[in-house]
Structures are given as C-alpha cells and as structure tokens.
Symmetry: C2
Subunit: 225 residues, 2 copies
DNA sequence: TTCAGTATGAAACTCAGTATCACCGTCCAC
DNA sequence: GTGGACGGTGATACTGAGTTTCATACTGAA
C-alpha cells in the first residue's frame, strides 16, 4: 500500500522535527502528534527517543552477523573486511537519509554517543568472530582486538569522508583500498595455514627505490638471519 | 584534612549504593542523603548520575593530552603508545576502586555505554594528534585512524585482561608487549623522515623460508612494478 | 559593618520512560 | 450468529533525572 508503516512515519516525523526545532526542543508528544499516533504507540515502536533516529540498526547488525557466519573466507580478516561492506552499502543505498542523519548526529551529543555505542557493537561482533578463528594461536586475543578495531576504524574513515563530501561519489573503491590496507597490515599477524610459523616483514621501500637498492636490502636481511 | 571532598564523598556514596541496591534502584536523592548533602549539591558536582562513577575521567584525558603535546618522540605512533601508559597506570594505581567500578560497569548497560563513549574520546584525541604529524603524506587520514584505534584497542585488551584477573599482577609488561606489537605493525605505515615518499610492503615470508624463495619473490615483485 | 563572592538548600518545573487499564478491531471456534 | 482470544492502540498516572530559580548562610576584604 502507499501507506507507510507506523514505525516509518514515526521515524520520519522525529527526524523532521529534530531538523526543524532541534533534538532537545522536540518532545515525544510532538513526534507522536506529527505521526498521528499517541505517545504510547511511539514507545511500542521505539525503546527511546534516539532510537527513532536509528530505526534499522538492529537488523543491519544481524545482517552483518549472518554474512559473517556464512562466510567461506579462509582467514578471519578477509571474512570481516568482506562483511563490513554491507554496512557501507546500506548507508549509500539511501544516501539522502544517511546525510540527514549525519548532519543531525554531528550536532547532537546524545545522538553521537548513541552512534559510538552502536559502532562498538560491530567491533565486539568482529572481535569475537576473529577470536574464535584465531583461538589457540599466540596473542590471539590481542590480535583479534586489533584486527576488529582496525576494520571498524577503516570503514568509519571511508564512511565519514563520504558523508562529509555530501555523498557525491561512490565510496566502494575507497573502501576496497582501505580494506586492502588493513589486510596487508595484518597479513603478518594471521597464519591460518601454518599455525606454527611466524611471518615477518623483510623490508619496506618507497615506490621510487631502485631495484638494486631493494635487492641489496633483501640480501642484507637474508645474511643477517 | 581527614575530611574528604564533597565530590569524593558523593562518588563513594554513589558506588556503594549502586553495589548494594543496583544502579536503577538508587535515586540521586539516596546518593545525596548518604553523602549528607542535598540533591542540588549533587548536580553541582556531577552533570549526571553516571558521572559519579567516573569522577576523574576529564582530568585523566587532559593529562594524556598534555603528555602528548609535550612528547619528544620522533614518530606519532611512539608518542601515542607512550602517552597511553598513563591511563593504565591510573587504573593500576588504585586497583581496588578500578575493580569495583569494572564489576559495576559490566552489569549496568548505561555505564557500559558511558565508558565506551569515554574511550572514543581518547581515540579521537589520538587520531587528531597522529593526523597532524602525518599531514600531507598519502593516506594520512586512514593511517591516523588505524593507528589511533589500534593503540586504544591494544590498551583496552591489556586493561580488560588485568581487570578480569582481579588486578592480581602488574600489567605494564603486557602493555609494553602489546604496544611493541602495534608499533611493529604500523612501522611500515609511517615515514617521518621522508614525508613525500610512499613505502610499500614488498612481500612477507615465514622465518623458515629459504633465501632463494625470498629472492625469487622479490625479483618477481620488481619485475611487476 | 557592609559588600561581594561562593557554596548550599528548597521548591517547582519539564520531560523521558514505565506500568496499567480500557477500548476496539479481527479472526477463529463453537 | 455469539463468545472469546489476541494484537494494536489510547489514556492516565507514576517515577525519577535534569534544569531553573530563588533564598540563605558563610567567607574574606574594604
């Protein structure tokens, strides 16, 4: 039907009023009135005032969780970097709503805090997932924590850049780049196929370094080990 | 004097009542009554109910900020990994209070959310500090975000382990280990002396790899670039 | 003493969030 | 049909956090 659900009507009314009059200045009575329902009904659809701004957060987290469980990736970090794409895609899908929400969240401390705790839920999900896959290997907890926080941080960096730019481009390439970055960073910290071995970085070079310099550095390393 | 400050009395009264009767079940009137002051006075010393559980958070953040500004480290990641020791040290200093608070925070969702947003403040501080030092280099924002989140994550992992174990050991060695881990991970991502160049990882190897295998991989890379 | 500044208490208010009850529609069983 | 179970809604009252305002007491300085 053309009639949107009550949850949607309430959420839209809330965001509209927050935009017009500010977050603190609008009461739940105002929201309910604009949506054409009673205050009771608001609290049947949302646990709290700020819930109305993030109506689909729980389902999104569940979707990411499901994707993670269904993943066939052979390393934890690849599974997680893959699953996190869902989140960015969800923001890009209805950019209009995302941008409105972003402007709101930036201004209202209560909403900012709420978003931070939401992000922490993802990080926890990732940490537990990676922790299970790394279980038994040395420093498993530490590495799981680092990988999870890095994936979340990289995602947020890309998302924030896209939001700040007004959602004017497709950020998926940037996310790919960031996730490759993360995977490269942590490749040495995850060894799924040879659990007993330790991988190390031999050397780093600038792109403009001559092949001779690279070979010399590598030879030096090989002699010294 | 032997008389503790009102803030301290209020904070202790709050934590004690939260322990005895639960967080939601104790009102601010209860806290004020036990501290021997009025409700008004409570709100003059704390912005909110949960503020009483984290009375020294603002000063601690300021201390870390000051240490960061005064740092003479030559790379951002070293400066931050050094500054974050202050936080762990602060927890260890009065382990009794830290453990009480930890047990409380674990049980009360409102306090957990509050702590998460507190941690985010450190991460933001670190991110901005690193971002300034990396400014101009490629992927500066992304790397700043990753480094900041990793330092915070590593610190939290060590702290959480210590708290879960009941504060029975000195965690500073573990923090050193974790921070060395982080520094090693990000060494390749920070080049303080050649801000214009881009460093890349040529390849990674296990320690048992033969020198021939390493040289072959490096030659292959050099041919392909 | 007087004045200013500061810490406190008292009281009233707004509003988020909870709990309870009554109402109304639909669907199903008999 | 009648009755009842049930899910969604509205109305009402309540608790308690947080704000605001005013009055009061105490301090030290001129």
């Amino acid at each position: 039907m053309g009639t949107p659900s009550i949850s949607r009507r309430l959420s839209e009314a809330a965001v509209a009023l927050f935009d017009e009059n500010g977050y603190e200045a609008t009461t739940i009575d105002d929201i309910a009135a604009r949506a054409g329902v009673s205050r009771s009904t608001f609290f049947r659809h949302f646990r709290s005032k700020d819930d109305a701004v993030f109506p689909d957060h729980d389902t999104l987290l569940a979707t990411v969780d499901a994707r993670l469980r269904a993943s066939a990736a052979d390393t934890a970090i690849v599974a997680v970097t893959d699953a996190v794409r869902i989140v960015l895609a969800h923001y890009v899908e209805d950019a209009e709503v995302s941008l409105r929400r972003y402007r709101l969240v930036r201004q209202v401390p209560a909403l900012r805090d709420r978003e931070i705790t939401s992000v922490a839920r993802y990080q926890r999900l990732f940490r537990e997932f990676i922790g299970k896959m790394l279980d038994g290997s040395p420093d498993a907890d530490l590495r799981a924590e680092l990988m999870a926080s890095s994936v979340v941080a990289a995602h947020n960096q890309v998302l924030r850049g896209w939001l700040r730019a007004g959602g004017t481009y497709d950020p998926s390439d940037l996310l790919d780049h960031a996730m490759r970055y993360v995977i490269a960073t942590f490749r040495q910290l995850e060894q799924p196929h040879e659990p007993g071995s330790e991988q190390i970085v031999v050397a780093t070079f600038s792109r403009s370094a001559s092949p001779q310099a690279v070979m010399a550095a590598v030879e030096k390393h090989l002699r010294s080990r």
